[in-house]
């Protein structure tokens, strides 16, 4: 009898009181609809807005086997959030995505289908190919995004079209190995994960996704993020 696949969705949250019920509802809807076995692991970093209470309520509504809570005291960073989250994950696959509705769970069946095609180790979402795209970005933001992406293509030759994305599916063992090999933070961490995956000769596939960010409110791309990005690219350029 073949082992059934189970998908552990990691959802690090910080001040996502309003979005959390919505993203969980969408995850439940799309993963149940396609008949997949899954669990949603919520890693809240001590959100002051009561995100954890919302998470507990969702656990009450959907059941402890579907909603797993792995909270932490304070904001400690993405890499450690993933490590903390997968410690008790019971799935053999791990899905990561943003909790703010910019990544839509409707793409998950496609991620899963793509992974099964050639038993890929990693499947990553791309905004830059096929039907992928973004919503409501002005010219400046598009230029910056494409420009930064071009820089990563020329310098790092990553073999994927969208290196900074964080909508991904990993085999659990692959994710564990990659996290332990990565040293960066923030979204440079996401870039490094793919670069290391290629270094370790893991197979990586892409699925076009639409990125609808900040349906409510302003997005911020500050100077410090730009600097961090350049430093990250240079670090990867010089060491990988």
């Amino acid at each position: 009898m073949a082992e059934r696949n189970k998908y552990s969705v990691l959802l690090p949250t910080y001040e996502e009181r309003n979005n959390l019920p919505l993203i969980v509802w969408l995850l439940v809807k799309h993963l149940s609809k396609s008949g997949h076995d899954f669990e949603i692991i919520i890693i809240d970093d001590g959100s002051p807005d009561g995100t954890l209470d919302v998470a507990k309520e969702l656990q009450r509504l959907y059941g402890k086997d579907k909603i797993v809570l792995r909270p932490r005291e304070k904001k400690l960073g993405l890499g450690t959030a993933y490590i903390h989250g997968i410690k008790h994950a019971t799935g053999n696959f791990v899905i990561i995505l943003d909790a703010d509705l910019s990544h839509h769970p409707k793409f998950l069946p496609e991620f899963i289908r793509k992974q099964a095609e050639k038993d890929y180790d990693v499947v990553t979402g791309t905004r830059y190919r096929g039907n992928g795209g973004v919503f409501g970005w002005d010219l400046k933001r598009k230029v910056i995004s494409r420009g930064a992406n071009y820089l990563t293509q020329v310098l790092l030759r990553p073999g994927v079209s969208d290196l900074t994305g964080s909508f991904r599916l990993y085999k659990k063992a692959v994710l564990e190995k990659l996290i332990n090999a990565c040293v960066s933070k923030g979204y440079v961490f996401q870039m490094e994960m793919i670069i290391r995956a290629r270094q370790f000769n893991f197979s990586v596939a892409e699925v076009p996704i639409t990125f609808v960010d900040r349906l409510y409110g302003e997005s911020k791309l500050g100077g410090s993020e730009v600097v961090a990005f350049f430093k990250g690219v240079l670090y990867l350029f010089a060491t990988t």
Partner: protein, 99 residues
């Protein structure tokens, strides 16, 4: 582990510059026609400029064809409405957040 990209670039660049410089400084005899000689002299600058132009053109193309997903945004709005209704229905106790 492979050689880091930075060193691959440095290796390629220094190899090219070594070859080019030794030609330009006349380290070896050649009997090239005048036109080829001219071309080789400007090759480094030409390659840089060609790369810059190509990059700019490619960037322009990619920005222009960057998909703007209005339907995805509209669909998300609908999803949010449906989600809120359904959550209220099954007894989500923080539904007042959305009022």
């Amino acid at each position: 582990m492979a050689i880091p990209k930075l060193y691959q670039w440095l290796l390629a660049a220094s190899t090219f510059m070594a070859a080019w410089l030794s030609y330009v400084l006349g380290f070896f005899q050649t009997n090239l026609r005048h036109e080829y000689h001219e071309i080789i002299l400007v090759l480094p600058i030409y390659l840089l400029m060609a790369f810059a132009s190509y990059s700019l053109a490619l960037l322009g193309y990619r920005v222009a064809t960057f998909n703007d997903c209005k339907e995805a945004a509209a669909e998300l709005q609908e999803d949010v409405k449906e989600a809120r209704k359904d959550l209220e229905r099954i007894g989500y106790k923080y539904a007042s957040d959305w009022q």
